[in-house]
Symmetry: C2
Subunit: 563 residues, 2 copies
């Protein structure tokens, strides 16, 4: 029997406690979901979100991107991240919402490949800064046509998920980047008439190494050869901070610059419409309700990809529905029949010009910069489709020269894996990523590498995997790992195997050459003794002996070629 | 130099594409984040969210929970999930938002242990049903005082994240549960005057086994011994569906019922205020702005836990701030000084009556039902604190009787791990969970179990871990695994080690006993021969021989006791 005690709640008291949770409050409390679980990762995530946004904006505007990233220590555990670009700028009215409102942006509602997807990242970084230091996000932005730039400072009102503007001013400003001097060319700063700079101060921790900002930017350059980048870290000098209250002056770091290696922008990805076979029932209902078309045939052929007007008619006939019917009426009544007919109709696969791959030559070029490789190869697979979403896989491998600058790879250690999604390096959560799973799933012994069971192969090698898609299925909002979708794992596996086969040919040839070389030097050692023996037996002159040695050497060389 | 082409966007065209993304749209597109990545998991997640809500509501109202869970197949890949409880009901005005609006609820804004945290789960399940089948969520609910129940059907308008009400009626209804007959007691249905039933139809896949609804409910009973549960699965009969268009009648399953084993509700957890040491700078600013107190001293002592009025004064003095200052003014100016002073002040740890543990006796009882154990023990650690959030760890282990109904455990297989957070079983993502990491990190060889390096130990054993907290840090919204916080991993490790030590004593004793038994039976075998020898040597009678045997046996038994 139900018990009840005085202090217990009932339906009415519970009802009074029910209220809306703003998406900002939600992510503030669950900020580890966005990549802000610790100060070290927060720094990386902030740089990543700002750089992603800048690259997306530049490419969308058809501008070759030039970026500067500056990390400045402002306290023992405080840093300011400043990222500046030569992009198209942001119009003033949009600045507050873009930088201080979660779930706001242009990329979520369209099917087009881009780095950002959700309209969360940069605002979340600002929110983290605000939470940990109480400061505001500072934005400078100038559009090409404008005379002045605007300087805006915003915070998020987390209760409402709306921006609070703390400063809104106009000023003279043009993005200026450190010059990169060539041979004999002085380094002059480069100035643009447009761009955006965003600065966020936060509790953070700066480290070097595998999961660092340094590594992130290096990998960024591999996947974005058209990027020109400047990077500087300014740290507080702790050396002289021995006497208790002594000041710790800021030591300005040197700008490190990387010239772009590709002078052309990647092929701009095209926005596509949803493919009927990737649309679920409820989504189809929504599309029928939202359409601007007045007929069923119209909505099918205009709002979906790969449905011609004739195909639309076929679908209507198959479903037994009037092609001129009002889509809204269909949505509420016969949508299941329509859905079934659509899925029974054979359609072309979705168009794949919505994807923009790096391409084999640029992958090889990028990897060659990362590692002193004796062998380097890349495979770009044809695009394929998952749940109506096109995606494309690219894989590159680079095998280090023995004794060369393999850097962080060694023969008896697992190969180094570099993961990218839509040209964005993924550093954390490697163990949970479909890429790691696919590489571990390949039998590397076939290709001449040792491999503990179910693990990464061992060897002085870098494996790079890039996945391009209009919708990358990440395992969390922080976009650190790709979910284990079988279609993706299979595609990655195919590309890795192809690279593996090429590697195997190379390693085999190298092995054969080494073997021949060993035999040759072995035989060569005996030639003088053989000649001496012949000289004794045949009573040859010294000159004959020399000729015999020469002759045998030539024979050996000829043979060597035919080994 | 900047390039620009005709088709490229500029700041103005980009601005026109910027728009708000509703949280429903976001999670609809990223529904794998909420546990709806595939039909099988979707079924489990839906049951889980509904059961969690029911249990929370019953406990909060001080009612011993009785629930029924029914899964009914409605099509080849379609199922309807119906979960009914005897809880306090939901007032009519709240039904639409609770069941068809993401981020709405009573549990997010308070610091109190509960199963639900986010106000997402059940609405997300409804949204998934709507997406895959176009149907609505059906709710029946009756509050104790009301005369009639209300029957409401809702969908989510995902563009706005608001409920759309499709049906709103009143009817006679009282939750009725199948009876559980005792010995000689007929099974009569039990009827309550209040409760809630929620039904969602969706694309799903029903399976049995490790990651199934069946397993989830079984584990639920282990962690919630006060729960009385009824479960039924109704499947379409495929056997008779041979002749093409033949109908597939529904085969109603049998109700399976589990009587509650604890007649008392768990100690109700108390809501606490935030602990000052767990509050970040930005959060403190927000609290100073939102407070109803008029003075700094007031806000410190009233809005935080563990700050007495005297301590509040000390903090003000330490910070050099006026105790009577307006908190809003402090928020915008001197908050950093205050924050520093607060963190330099020694404070009591947060209160821990906000946690409600299962307790050692009930854990042992629960595990004993799961496995025919020859040894079973449990450890409930004292509550501890992480970032100002109290949490508590409980661990139980059960070692199967040899040849007993160990069920799914075997001597040469990894032990079975059951993970719980706030009494909710976690089934997926075991590899990513802090619990798994903690168990693998213990050296089980010390306790007599084999253990491959860095892996789970091997043995016919179940390890159960329960973490109770006002805020469990899950790795994703789907609440499947606990993030790797070092404090949690350490606490779990301590509890596991204590259980391991007890197991080790048991295994050691068992080993010793088995050894003694072996020796004893060995010696016993020779007693008759010894007696016969003595008889020959000493010329004893048969009766003497019998007495010698008896005597030797008794000696052996005495010795055995002293082994």
């Amino acid at each position: 029997m139900p018990r009840s005690n005085a202090s217990s709640a009932n339906a009415e008291t519970m009802a009074r406690q029910q209220r809306e949770i703003s998406v900002s409050e939600f992510f503030l409390k669950n900020r580890h979901l966005l990549g802000f679980d610790n100060p070290r990762k927060a720094l990386l995530t902030t740089v990543k979100e700002a750089v992603d946004n800048s690259l997306d904006a530049c490419e969308e505007a058809g501008l070759l991107p030039e970026l500067s990233v500056e990390i400045t220590q402002t306290g023992e555990k405080r840093f300011r991240v400043t990222v500046m670009d030569n992009g198209p700028g942001v119009v003033r009215a949009q600045v507050p919402r873009i930088f201080a409102k979660l779930l706001y942006g242009s990329k979520f509602h369209r099917l087009r490949m881009s780095r950002g997807q959700q309209g969360i990242g940069i605002s979340a970084a600002g929110m983290y800064g605000q939470l940990t230091t109480g400061t505001a996000t500072r934005i400078l932005s100038k559009v090409p046509r404008g005379k002045l730039a605007h300087h805006i400072e915003v915070q998020i009102d987390t209760r409402k998920n709306t921006p609070t503007i703390l400063k809104d001013a106009e000023l003279e400003w043009a993005p200026s980047f450190p010059g990169i001097g060539g041979e004999g060319v002085p380094a002059e700063p480069r100035v643009y008439s447009h761009g955006t700079s965003v600065a966020i101060e936060m509790e953070a921790h700066y480290v070097r190494g595998r999961l660092s900002v340094d590594e992130y930017l290096r990998q960024c350059l591999v996947a974005n050869p058209h990027l020109q980048l400047h990077y500087r870290v300014n740290l507080l000098d702790k050396e002289i901070d021995n006497e208790g209250q002594a000041t710790t002056p800021l030591v300005e770091g040197q700008w490190v610059s990387w010239k772009r290696t590709a002078e052309a922008l990647p092929k701009p990805p095209v926005e596509i419409k949803p493919h009927p076979h990737g649309v679920e029932l409820g989504m189809m209902m929504q599309m029928l309700r939202d359409t601007e078309s007045r007929t069923l045939r119209g909505v099918l052929s205009e709002d979906f990809s790969r449905v011609s007007s004739q195909t639309a008619l076929d679908i209507c006939t198959r479903a037994g529905l009037d092609a001129k019917a009002n889509p809204r009426r269909i949505a509420s009544r016969e949508v299941e029949t329509l859905y079934k007919a659509v899925n029974e109709t054979k359609l072309m696969r979705p168009p794949t010009d919505c994807l923009s791959c790096i391409g084999e030559p640029l992958i090889v070029a990028g990897l060659s910069k990362e590692i002193d490789a004796e062998f380097c190869t890349a495979v770009t697979r044809d695009p394929t489709v998952y749940r109506g979403n096109p995606f494309q896989v690219e894989v590159g491998i680079a095998y280090a020269r023995p004794g060369g600058g393999g850097g962080e790879t060694a023969a008896d250690e697992p190969v180094r894996v570099m993961r990218f999604a839509n040209r964005v390096p993924l550093l954390y959560m490697a163990g949970a990523c479909a890429v790691t799973k696919a590489i571990c799933g390949v039998n590397w012994k076939n290709y001449g590498l040792a491999q503990p069971r179910g693990s990464l192969p061992l060897g002085p090698m870098v494996v790079m995997v890039h996945i391009a898609s209009v919708w990358v299925p990440f395992t969390s909002e922080s976009k650190e790992a790709i979910a284990h979708y079988p279609e993706m794992i299979r595609e990655i596996g195919f590309a890795v195997q192809e690279c593996g086969r090429r590697l195997s040919v190379h390693l085999h040839r190298r092995h054969r050459e080494a073997e021949a070389e060993r035999k040759r030097s072995y035989i060569e050692k005996y030639i003088p003794h053989l000649a001496l023996g012949l000289k004794d037996v045949l009573n040859l002159t010294d000159r004959d002996e020399g000729r015999v040695v020469d002759h045998l050497r030539r024979m050996l060389e000829r043979t060597h070629l035919e080994v």
